[in-house]
């Protein structure tokens, strides 16, 4: 018996842990991609239609803002259950990686949109005015001024969102979405195999650390200028 087995006596299938890791990464990657694709335009919309901004539209802003706030105020575990019919409609299953992605995205995109809005507000008003003076259209301002100038803040937002998503994917385990959370829940909680719990927690910590380090590295790279 090697020392690792002594420490973790119940773990007989490392392959299963490996598969769970891959599942978590797939859920994370897929949901992060979709979250950015949906949250970025939503954040730009919030920014542009806000009071005193480039296209102030108080009503549209109020509605979008309310919707974002509602989705953000529902705890993710509840949101997942509430969204089950929607999930089934969208991907044809409530389970597994596919079943996990719609609630993950719907939970994280409004969160990310707010971070995008905040990051865009950090862009100096004067730079926007200068580009207007140069004859830039709204689209050119968004594409060539706002997004590049805010990219440090945007990458910081993506990092924070990715880490929140790691937590969400783990919660998804409770209702059968697979991945490390599912493993911890089934073995660690339901079967009292606490060594599974330990391994899962360590893996999650490592994952979050890696994400934070990667994110920080990208942010510093862009913040330097």
């Amino acid at each position: 018996m090697n020392p690792l087995q002594k420490l973790l006596p119940n773990i007989d299938d490392w392959g299963e842990i490996g598969r769970a890791c891959i599942d978590t990464l797939l859920m994370l990657g897929g949901s992060l991609l979709l979250t950015v694709l949906i949250g970025l335009p939503l954040g730009v919309l919030l920014y542009l239609t806000g009071k005193g901004q480039l296209r102030p539209m108080p009503k549209l802003y109020a509605v979008t803002s309310l919707l974002v706030n509602i989705l953000r105020s529902v705890p993710f575990i509840i949101l997942m259950i509430v969204l089950m019919p929607v999930t089934y409609f969208l991907v044809g299953t409530k389970l597994g990686i596919r079943g996990a992605i719609p609630p993950l995205v719907i939970g994280a995109a409004p969160f990310f949109a707010r971070l995008v809005e905040t990051a865009l507000r950090e862009v100096q008003q004067g730079v926007i005015e200068a580009s207007q003076a140069m004859g830039a259209s709204l689209w050119q301002i968004v594409r060539h001024v706002l997004l590049p100038e805010a990219r440090g803040g945007l990458f910081a937002g993506i990092t924070v969102t990715a880490i929140a998503l790691v937590g969400y994917t783990a919660m998804g385990g409770a209702i059968g979405s697979g991945g490390l959370g599912d493993l911890a829940y089934r073995y660690g909680y339901l079967s009292y195999k606490s060594d599974y719990m330990l391994v899962t927690v360590v893996l999650l910590i490592v994952l979050v650390q890696l994400l934070q380090m990667l994110g920080d590295r990208i942010v510093t790279r862009y913040k330097r200028h």
């Binding site: 730079v127 005015e129 200068a130 003076a133 140069m134 004859g135 060539h144 590049p148 100038e149 200028h225």
Partner: protein, 347 residues
């Protein structure tokens, strides 16, 4: 400044009965009282005023970053106030603008900042952009800084990048929004020199706003003085500078001439004789008229204050004298004859 064949000033920017107010909490707060103003092709036109006088609003009316509440604004033959959004954007590309805080893109290199307005205008050929950027950076003296980022430059260098960027699309007008207010005196001087050079060599019309009379004195041909949303005085810089009419103008002039301000406070009552202020302009500054007239008419004079300087390229001098003698009026006539302007100051 260029004249039309009939000898009229050809205006490149015209404000006709323009006014502007802001709506704050349901009430209209006036920022600029109704005014009309012509800015001539090729001149450097200064607008001076304290903060809150409305000068940044006024300069933003030219490219319609601020829309007037009423009135018409022409740039060249185009009625700016009648343009729809796409046509307005096209016009704005013909009007360069530089800013107090430079407003460069922090995420882009110097070269990309300068190329930015050309890219916005649809120029994407790398060789065309490169050539034009090189030419512009050479003009502003930053050829070796093309690949740096704005954060690596000094304030003066950033403003030079701003100027290069503003010139990229070969505008006919350059708007300067407090362009030197964030710079130290030496850097201010070199940036103003660059602006004057651009005005001369590219025959570009420059409109600048400032709160420093010294900036006006160094580069402007004409000036308008703005006080609480009203243009209280306007004219050739030498006229306004040597003979300010309005209190606000006097305050600005005195700021630029500290000696003069002190002499205003001097106890004239203790000096015998009449107090005269002599203004010399151009060649009269260099002729020894005062000594000759004094000898011929037998007057005595005592110099209370004086200075010699330049207004743009025009040398000028101003002397405040206490004059005694029987033939003071004859002397004054002789001095006027010699092209010297004389004001008698109240004692």
């Amino acid at each position: 400044m260029r004249l039309s064949p009939e000898g009229h000033i050809s205006a490149v920017i015209r404000f006709v009965d323009v006014h502007k107010s802001y709506r704050v909490d349901g009430r209209d707060i006036p920022a600029l009282q109704p005014f009309s103003l012509d800015i001539a092709d090729g001149e450097v036109f200064g607008i001076i005023g304290l903060s809150g006088a409305g000068k940044s609003t006024l300069i933003r009316l030219v490219n319609l970053l601020e829309r007037p509440s009423g009135g018409t604004i022409f740039v060249g033959d185009t009625e700016m106030t009648a343009l729809a959004e796409p046509a307005l954007r096209a016009q704005r590309r013909r009007i360069g603008m530089i800013f107090q805080h430079f407003n460069l893109l922090a995420s882009q290199t110097v070269a990309d900042n300068v190329a930015f307005p050309m890219r916005l205008a649809g120029e994407h050929s790398a060789s065309v952009l490169r050539a034009r950027v090189d030419e512009l950076l050479a003009r502003v003296g930053l050829s070796t800084h093309a690949d740096k980022y704005p954060s690596q430059l000094s304030g003066g260098q950033k403003q030079r990048v701003g100027i290069a960027r503003a010139l990229a699309n070969r505008p006919s007008i350059l708007l300067c929004d407090e362009a030197t207010s964030a710079l130290d005196p030496q850097t201010t001087a070199s940036v103003l020199e660059l602006l004057a050079e651009i005005n001369r060599e590219l025959e570009l019309t420059i409109v600048l706003i400032t709160h420093e009379m010294d900036v006006v004195r160094r580069v402007c041909d004409r000036v308008a003085v703005l006080d609480a949303g009203v243009i209280v005085e306007r004219g050739a810089v030498a006229d306004v500078f040597l003979h300010p009419q309005h209190d606000t103008t006097r305050r600005f002039v005195n700021e630029a001439l500290p000696e003069e301000a002190a002499s205003e406070l001097a106890p004239f009552a203790q000096v015998p004789g009449r107090i005269l202020r002599l203004s010399f302009r151009g060649d009269t500054t260099l002729t020894p008229a005062l000594g000759r007239v004094a000898r011929d008419t037998g007057i005595d004079f005592n110099i209370l204050a004086g200075r010699i300087d330049r207004i743009k390229n025009l040398p000028y001098g101003q002397l405040t004298l206490a004059v005694q003698g029987e033939r003071v009026d004859v002397a004054m006539a002789a001095l006027r004859e010699a092209g010297i302007e004389i004001e008698e100051l109240p004692r």
